[in-house]
Structures are given as structure tokens and as C-alpha cells.
Amino acid sequence: MIGFDIVGFMISWLTLFGIYAILALTLNLESGTAGITNFGKVVFYGVGAYVSATLTAYLILILNGVDVSETPPYGIRGIILLGELGNKNPLLNIGLLVLSLVIAFAVSGVLGYLLTYPILRVGPAFVGFTLLSSGELLRIFLQHYEPVGASKGLMAIPTPFGWIADSRLREVTYLGLVLGLLAVTYVVTHRLVNSPLGRTLRALRDDEIAALCLGKHVPRIKATILFIGSGVAGMAGVLLTYYLTSVNPNMFVPAVTFNVWAMIILGGFGNLKGSLLGASVITFVDRVLTFVTPQLGIAAISPDYLRWVIVGLLIVVVLLVNPRGLLPEKPIRTPAVDVILEEFRGESK
């Protein structure tokens, strides 16, 4: 070992943690609280990533007067131009970030809303499987769609803070953006869960038919939640694009979804803090493993396989031993709780 750059380690870990935590929080809202078994999280993540990659790459070229029908951003000329033109105008870069976030939210959200249509009437199994299939559908579509680079994907995507010369400062700024968005996501999901809406969502999860008989428009509520969850997942996709500066259809495979599922099950179904914990444990262990495994020398068994076996077992064992995960679901905090406590206090006097 030559040395250890703890600051660099923290930056790179926290950035990835932030992106995954956003996914985990929204998945927990959809699946943990509202009971929609979303096995297709990666669809919306991928759509968000592609929206921002396409927008950024094309707009940078077009606004710099490049004819994209001649030099598309997925060709080698376009890629070199993107590298040259990408970081000239800080305002443009930040503007593109904001635009990407907004449009990715809208596109992924609407897609999530529309996808509820085929799954309204069927149970969790069909919902999960349909969304899982949609992920594969999206991947095959992207592989064939030339304007987003088809199987080549897009690369050399200018980052919002590419104009900051110092690489450490740039990474920290980006980390700030990721953690800021994570904080917003946490506040939003926390408020949604601890509101009459959150209560209705849990009711829906417990018994859809009873909720329907109590006047709840089950399909609309589900669609709304998938709109929010998918939209925010799309924003996480934007963050991923600028972090990797490259997108490729094969990044968005079902394994990404399963990883996020492992996080929320480990952390606790329906508990938002649990999702943060789950995301941090899994991303941290993954990262630490990359430091530890070379010390073990060449082994007969690839550590990556062992890692997945442990993730799979973790899902099963947590569900068996403690289905509520590390942090169990908390009762909903609304003013009603204060009212009842006042009532009890009044009685005991």
C-alpha cells in the first residue's frame, strides 16, 4: 500500500451513496410505504440519465454553432468537440444542469404515471414483473436508437462544474450538489410519509380493497406515487450521468434495481432513515472491498460473486429473521398524535 487518500475516498463514496440513497428513498416510498412492488426502478433512473446526457451533449454542440446532423455527439468528431467546447461557459453548464433535472423529472415521472395503466388491476407479482420487463424493453430500445448513440451510448458529456480548474474542488462541489438533492428528497419523502397521504398509502399497502371501499381512488394514488418516485429517480439518473460523464444502454440492467432493493430491505421497509442506512452500508462495503480484496491475493472464487451471494442471502435472512429490517417502520407523525396525547393526559389528570 502506498498511501491512502481519505478525503478522496470520502468524496467518491459519498457521491455514489448520495445517488443510491435518492433511489432507495423513492423506492421505499413506492414499495415500502405504498406497496407497489417496483422491480423496474432502473427504467426511470436510466431515462433520467439519458435525458440529461442527450440534452447536454446536443445543446452544447448546437449552442456553439455546430451542425449536429453533420457531427453528432456520438461520433468521434462530436466527442472531441464536446471535450473542447464543454467547459467554456459556466452559466451554460449550470443552466443545462437545471434544465436536465427539470426535464428528467418530468419525462421519468410521466413514464412512471403511464406505466401504471397496464398494472392497475393486477397484483404485486404482475406489477413487479411488468416493470422489470419494461427495463429490458427500454434497454433494447436504446440500443437501437441512433440519436442517443444506440449501442455506443454517449460520452464526454460536459459536467456542470467542469469549468472549476481544481479537480478536488470540482469533486467537492459536485458532492455538494448530490447531497443537496438527497436532502431535498429526504425532506419531501419524509413529509409525504408523515401526512394523511402517507397514512392512506399505508392503508393501500395493507388492504387495497378496503381502501377502495373507503372511497380511495386506488389507481390514481398509485399513479401519483409512481409519478413522484419515478421523477425523483430520473433526477438521480441525471446525477449519475454527470458523475460518469458517459451513458451506455448496458449500464441499466436489472441488477441495479436489485441492489436498491437490498438497501431498503436491509435498512427497513417503510423506514426512510433505514434506506439511508442501507444505502450507506452497501455502498461503503462495496468500496471497502475494493481496498481489501487485493490484499487477499488471487483467490479461486471471485469476490464479486461472494458479494452477490451475501446480498441475496441478506434479503432472505432479513425477511425471515426480522422483516422490518435494521430500523423498523415508525408510526406516522401527524398532529393527530398530539391530539390523542393531549386527550390521554387530560384523562389521567
Partner: protein
Amino acid sequence: MIPGVQQALMNTFQYMLFYLIFSIPLTLSYRTTKVINFAHANFITYGAYVAIFLHGLLGLDIMSVAVVLAFIVTGAIAVLNNTLVFTPLQKRGSSPAIIMISSMGLWITYKYLLYMITDVARYYTAKNFVSYGRITYSDVPRGSIVGISFSQALVASLVAASLLVALLYLFLEKTKIGRAMRAVADNPSLAEISGISRPFVVNLTWFICGGIVGVGGVIWTSFSGAITPEVGDSAILQVFTVGFIGGLVSLLRTGIGAVLISTIENVGIAILNTYFGIPVSFRPFLTFVTLITTLIVFPPLGAGGGLPYRFLRRGSRK
């Protein structure tokens, strides 16, 4: 006339047989146990790898031995899953969604466990098990009748699928335990009263379903050009689609689903490619489009714990 239509038809038939062998147990197991089992993919893969390890480590090329062993191995895995995971979860009153997620966990575990086993096998034998060529068996006939060539896979899957359908019919209709299985599927509480031990019936169902799929996996090794530990996973989307067309309830509709999907995948894509220039690489796309269309047009109402009716447009009257 599309050129090469004979080959496409043969493939359709071959795939239909595989989909039958893989999907009917899926429907049967869901009907009886109400568990959506994602680990179904592992049965295919483990069945195939029983044959591969017999061939690669012991040099055995007798399909009948592989079939028996694979039936026992995958059947045992299915029973193990049920005993250690599904039954305890059901006893605690976990929702179908939770049980399905646990099966997803099992799926991941078994998949990578197999990868680990192939790693170890490679370490000791210096043979590559992660990608294994087609196995030619010594005890399966092949040949051609009236100009149509019967490959080993076709012969074996034809025998297996016919046996499956015939025996399943006889078993479910004519034997006491088979009727018990149907009773458990139709009305669990009633079955309990009539003196049938539900746990036994459920375990038996798992053993049979897991075993049949494992046998399908063995036959797959005589068909596919190269087998990887991903084989079950990459086939599972099609297998589930076939099962979903049957609503995971009707065996007949599952059979229709098998015909439909295999036709679309082989003949359908050939037509689209020849007349509309759609790339062949769109083939998996068609399967998913079929699935989504099925869900929109003929939703299997109430299946898998969903709402048992169709939500009408606001205020609309009949």
C-alpha cells in the same frame, strides 16, 4: 413465402416444447402455493448444470442419468426453499409481495452460488464452465423422418413434454393425491377440513415443479450452442410471460401462451424482418410488447393479489 420457413417452424415447435416444460410447473406451483417464485430461473440453470458437471467432471454423456439426478437436485432445492423460506413467511402472515421479494433474494443467491461453484470447478480442472458447449448424449436417438431432421433436443423435449402433459393429467385427475393438489389450489381451507395434509401437498408440488423444470434444463444442454449460468435468467422473462398469459391459473391458457410466444419469437420476427426490415435484434422486444398488450387487453383480474375487477372510467355506466 418466407425463405427458410421450415427452419423457423421447427424452431417454433422446439421453443414451444421448452416453454411448456418451463411454464406449466410455474403455473402449477403458483396455483397450489400462491407463491410467485422468481427462483424458478434457478431450476432451469441448475438442471442444465447438473448435466454439465456430470459431463465435464465425470465425462458422463447419458441423458437419462442426468435427468434423474437433475430432477432430484432441483426438486430438492424447491422443497428446501419452501421449507426454509416460503412456509415460515406464510405462517407469519407475510404478504404475497414480501414472499415474492424473498424469492428474488433466493434467485440472486442461487445464481451467484452457481458462479462460485463454476469458479471452484475451473480452479481444479482448468476447464471453463462459465460457457459450455452443447452436449451430445449417447442414449438419445436422432435422425430424420420424411425429410424432417429430429435433433436430440427435439426428441428429448417431445418425449418430456408429452410425458409431462399426459402424466400431469392422469395425476391431477385420477389419483387421490393429485385431486388433493387441485383441492388445495382451489380452496385451501376446505382441503384442510377434508383431511388432506396441506404441507405435504405443497412440498410435493414444489418437488414435482422444481424437478420438471430441472429436466427441461438438462434437455436444454442438448439444444443450446453454449450454456452459461445466465441461461435461466435470460429465459425467465419469456417463461413468466407465457405463465402470465395464462394468468398463472389456467394450464390451458399457459399452453396457448407457449404457442403464442414461440410463434412470435420465431415466425413473427422472420416476417417482420423480411417485410418490414425490423432488425432481428428486436426479438426480445416483441415478447415484452406481447406481455404488456396482454396485461392491458386481457388483464388476469385479481391474479397475484390485485384488484379483482376492472377499474371503470369515472362515472361510466354499462
